[in-house]
Symmetry: C2
Amino acid sequence: MIRVVLVEPEGEYNVGFIARLCKNFSVNELYIVNPKVNISDAIRFSAGGKDILINAKIVSSFDEAVADVDIKIATSSIADNKGDILRKSIKPWEVIPLIQDKKTALIFGRESVGLTREEIFKSDFLLHIPANPEYPVLNLSHAVGIVLYEIWKYRYITSSLSSQSMSN
Amino acid sequence: MIRVVLVEPEGEYNVGFIARLCKNFSVNELYIVNPKVNISDAIRFSAGGKDILINAKIVSSFDEAVADVDIKIATSSIADNKGDILRKSIKPWEVIPLIQDKKTALIFGRESVGLTREEIFKSDFLLHIPANPEYPVLNLSHAVGIVLYEIWKYRYITSSLSSQSMSN
Ligand SMILES: Nc1ncnc2c1ncn2[C@@H]1O[C@H](CSCC[C@H](N)C(=O)O)[C@@H](O)[C@H]1O
Ligand SMILES: Nc1ncnc2c1ncn2[C@@H]1O[C@H](CSCC[C@H](N)C(=O)O)[C@@H](O)[C@H]1O
Ligand SMILES: Nc1ncnc2c1ncn2[C@@H]1O[C@H](CSCC[C@H](N)C(=O)O)[C@@H](O)[C@H]1O
């Protein structure tokens, strides 16, 4: 079970695109903490994800968004802050074994400042998508898309393998 | 060498976000065929990819965009058009061995109608990102992000492995 948690998102296009990605990759739940946008302004970017956006759970705190999950995966555009390692980061493909059969929150931060130290500290793992070291800061919705794709890909490959072996 | 080719893109946010993704994943060239947007309207979505957008090559035909590449990879939101199989599709991770040491065009279609049959026919392979069978149609820029991420990931993993073996 996957829940995408957006913490204080600022761009209506990002919120709408993320609802679309949730539909594209069969995410079970979308939670938005204290959005800085009007959800109605995000709808025009949601395409086939409109129902997911309309049914997104709007909460007022980070704690409410993650209270009932088994594992919390925070995300960051910074690979390794040598001066201040709060959490050693993992890669997207390394998250797969950690989330099997677990109610999982994938937590994404504000376009302006990402997640706070406290929000990262409250999480279990910190995920960093490797990218150009000169510019590893992805747009919020594109970071979401890549993480959801990696998780979907694993489901896709394992279900193809089991249907092949069942037909043999 | 990777060239991203956008065929008649319609959304300025998509064009801007794609320039950003090209910077995030060190794409060498961005070509835009007959854009339906003003590049100046796309700039505010390009963030650190602004230079890539400003230097994007604007051409008036598909043929111009791909004339000098070794391999052309078209993309489609349709996995398998059973009534009309023009090309059997490959998955993103399957493209990796095909593009090694090749000047590669990754070709993405119009938000409204994708690529034409002719454009797909002129290409060498057709790539489909597996997603929810009920809604596999990704937003254009998110499709680009996922393909560039897969290609980057391969470079990332192989360069980590060679720096490990060199230090042994
Ligand atoms: N390379 C990357 N890996 C993982 N998540 C990333 C990422 N790039 C962006 N994101 C996600 O996108 C969000 C907005 S980008 C935030 C950038 C901000 N200037 C900062 O200082 O953090 C991040 O909080 C994270 O959730
Ligand atoms: N939350 C989820 N939503 C949809 N499919 C899921 C899923 N979790 C696991 N799966 C499995 O993952 C597979 C991915 S889609 C499979 C595509 C199809 N077999 C083809 O080749 O075209 C589904 O068949 C489904 O069995
Ligand atoms: N699942 C997927 N796999 C590969 N490319 C995809 C994709 N979803 C969207 N795209 C890319 O995003 C572009 C815009 S989506 C185009 C949708 C259009 N209604 C159609 O009929 O094709 C596509 O041309 C393709 O380049």
